[in-house]
Symmetry: C3
Subunit: 339 residues, 3 copies
Amino acid sequence: MKFAGSHILSISQFERAEIEHIFEVADRMAPYAHRQRITRVLDGAILGNMFFEPSTRTRISFGCAFNLLGGEVRETTGFEATSLAKGESLYDTARVLSGYSDVIVMRHPAGGSVAEFAAASRVPVINGGDGANEHPSQALLDLYTIRKELQHQGRDGIDGLHIAMIGDLRYGRTVHSLSKLLCLFSNIQLTLISPQELRMPAEIVDALRSAGHTVVESDTLEQSLAHVDIAYATRIQEERFATLDEALLYRGRYRLNKKIYTQFCQPNTVIMHPLPRDSRAEANELDNDLNDNPNLAIFRQADNGVLVRMALFALILDVVEQVDSHARDVNWYTERRFE
Amino acid sequence: MKFAGSHILSISQFERAEIEHIFEVADRMAPYAHRQRITRVLDGAILGNMFFEPSTRTRISFGCAFNLLGGEVRETTGFEATSLAKGESLYDTARVLSGYSDVIVMRHPAGGSVAEFAAASRVPVINGGDGANEHPSQALLDLYTIRKELQHQGRDGIDGLHIAMIGDLRYGRTVHSLSKLLCLFSNIQLTLISPQELRMPAEIVDALRSAGHTVVESDTLEQSLAHVDIAYATRIQEERFATLDEALLYRGRYRLNKKIYTQFCQPNTVIMHPLPRDSRAEANELDNDLNDNPNLAIFRQADNGVLVRMALFALILDVVEQVDSHARDVNWYTERRFE
Amino acid sequence: MKFAGSHILSISQFERAEIEHIFEVADRMAPYAHRQRITRVLDGAILGNMFFEPSTRTRISFGCAFNLLGGEVRETTGFEATSLAKGESLYDTARVLSGYSDVIVMRHPAGGSVAEFAAASRVPVINGGDGANEHPSQALLDLYTIRKELQHQGRDGIDGLHIAMIGDLRYGRTVHSLSKLLCLFSNIQLTLISPQELRMPAEIVDALRSAGHTVVESDTLEQSLAHVDIAYATRIQEERFATLDEALLYRGRYRLNKKIYTQFCQPNTVIMHPLPRDSRAEANELDNDLNDNPNLAIFRQADNGVLVRMALFALILDVVEQVDSHARDVNWYTERRFE
């Protein structure tokens, strides 16, 4: 694919080389995201940050990424009555809203809605999550984090990785998307740890195996953690169950904590989680007693979202090679950030 | 009127020469709205985009217009609990909020509220819609669209126009305001097509006739469309009826579609609609099968809103003559916009 | 304390010299807040304006203050579903959100929540109000207003001041915080006018007396107003009472109006109110018939909020000495502001 002017709708649209190119561009965004330098490359550009479903962190992360490139953000935050409620088609909404900005990020509760919107848009559209369907920037930031954490350990690349995914593998959108992305790489070992009823969908397991990967499914946590490079914990997606009672059957089933980590993981196993984690005592799938463990990558993972989203904006607006020439040093206090 | 520092509260405040001046300034905003050039003329200025009633597109359109001139936007989006609910007067609200910005756009559900607010404001206020009362920028963008579409056909000016207004002419605020604006021009023919119960208010029809215009009222669509330059369709304003049952009597009554257009309209009749159009099968007052018709001006109409709002900001903040001297070329990908 | 990189959580963290330093910096912000000059000193910086409880004016005031320094604002407006509702800890929320901005303002309904958030944040945090607990920028702008109004009368400094606080002194957070701040100064006379049941909490009265101040409590308005420099009226905090019926016992109990002011106050007694004032006929604790009185400082008080918040941002981001070197004249119409 050509990035300039493209929509970013699904991780399926990428080939491996394109993924790697996004990650290289994300690496180049680090000085700006870390406030060592600022760039004004998109000074005058407008992002339409259209969230037709509430989301604080994804919305702010995209908006921040655009601001860091120098652009402005106009947005909706999901609780407004929209013209969609008056019978307006997504086609009309797209034709109108795409006249107001240079690029659009859209989140919408209905699967497929963002692709339909994009087809009518006159500017590039990034899918910020369309229901249970796709959320490509989340999958990209997860894989980018894996790559970066392994690099930090002196390992080069994602091929040969051993990853454990833990928890609600049935309803968790992020583990589905990450698995699909991993199909582009070689020789991955996946250990899928979930209750029987919340197993990874069969078609995803099949796809992983067709890609030549090794998949082991298990319903116990402890013994499955040996030899993994990445332990990817997830929250029970309580809001997706038919009833809360059904969801409560699984609350607290797996709890990755300091004791288990110390006993069963390798000393450098990286801990990830798409966040938010459920820290209520009865859930606690990833315990706060691991907060001081240097291998806990969950906040670096969130930070990486800004880098990846900056990269996507820079690529589809075709300014990657201009970013550094519109830059200068930061002139305000930033030391706290690096504590 | 003098534009610098003025409030824009009602279309009644304008004379014909002023309308034409706004349109000339709007024309000059096109390179910026089309992202061929950017201007930073309002760099450092702040718009208070105060929507005390929800609205996505009008709010975003005003905010985008201000960003395109280089300014910043602070806003409320209508669902917040406000001090008005704690017994605060509009006078107090205006005195406080007008300390926070250089210009305010205000939408509020109560008719007359924006004028009351403006009287106490220390900065210029633009009425973004006060209930069923006024929404002057919408009327201006409608008339601007008519002028531009006719120019595109090689016709100069609005005088002598033949326009059909179709649908809910009783509750539709936009057709009321547009009719009032047309009173400033000469020799207009209006064909008003509506159910008997939803006819244009008598005082507006009287005003049109007093201005020397020809008004014909009808309750059938097809035969009334011959010889019109502009067919302006509207949605049944279901939310304004006493009961939904009453509104449903009129849903789907008039449906302008490809078949009717081809059979009854002139080949260059321009189709307008204030949007949103109701595209549900049972309503569909303007069919999607006209989407490819080059005379369908409804999305150009929405785009023109940005130009007109930029012009209003530039005029009341008195920077019209500075816009081009703060400009430079756009440095990011914009080709998709011109497909 | 050192300002650069500090959190602003409570007025208790300040010593007198620091308060005075904040006020000197606030004075230097006046040309920018009054739109005589603009500064771009924070061009490229991002404020995370995190309001987890609705507030129009405090939110806009902080956002405007940051824009006036040249920075960008990303925000939440309190009605969004947040990850906190999915069991996320404030620790996690802080770790994530503090990766998205250079400084955070946070409002939250739970007392102590902002301090807990700040402890985990990687960037400086300003408390924008944590329930009934603290709202330090409000207390600072109140005291700054007192200082400035007295200066305008030719008096130098706050020591020796006589202030009357009127109304709901039990639940009114602003009078509590202002009283605590006054403990840093010398020789203050306080006249506390409230119904018996809504008296100032005893520990605050004790603190004032321990600071050497004179405190007189009263339940009648008129006779208590003689010789006061500042009459600080407050609204009955109806939302804090157990029942509305209980609150209604006090509605309209004290009404400062033109007749009472003229008869009982000194001709230069300054009138303050934290706003919003309840202007419904049955409440009306500060009558609109005083709106033309030049000693009515309530809107100057709101305006001063912008100056004080600009000063706080400039101090904690350590750009005070750079503000003027990133400045230029305003190039748009601003005369209305000075009417």
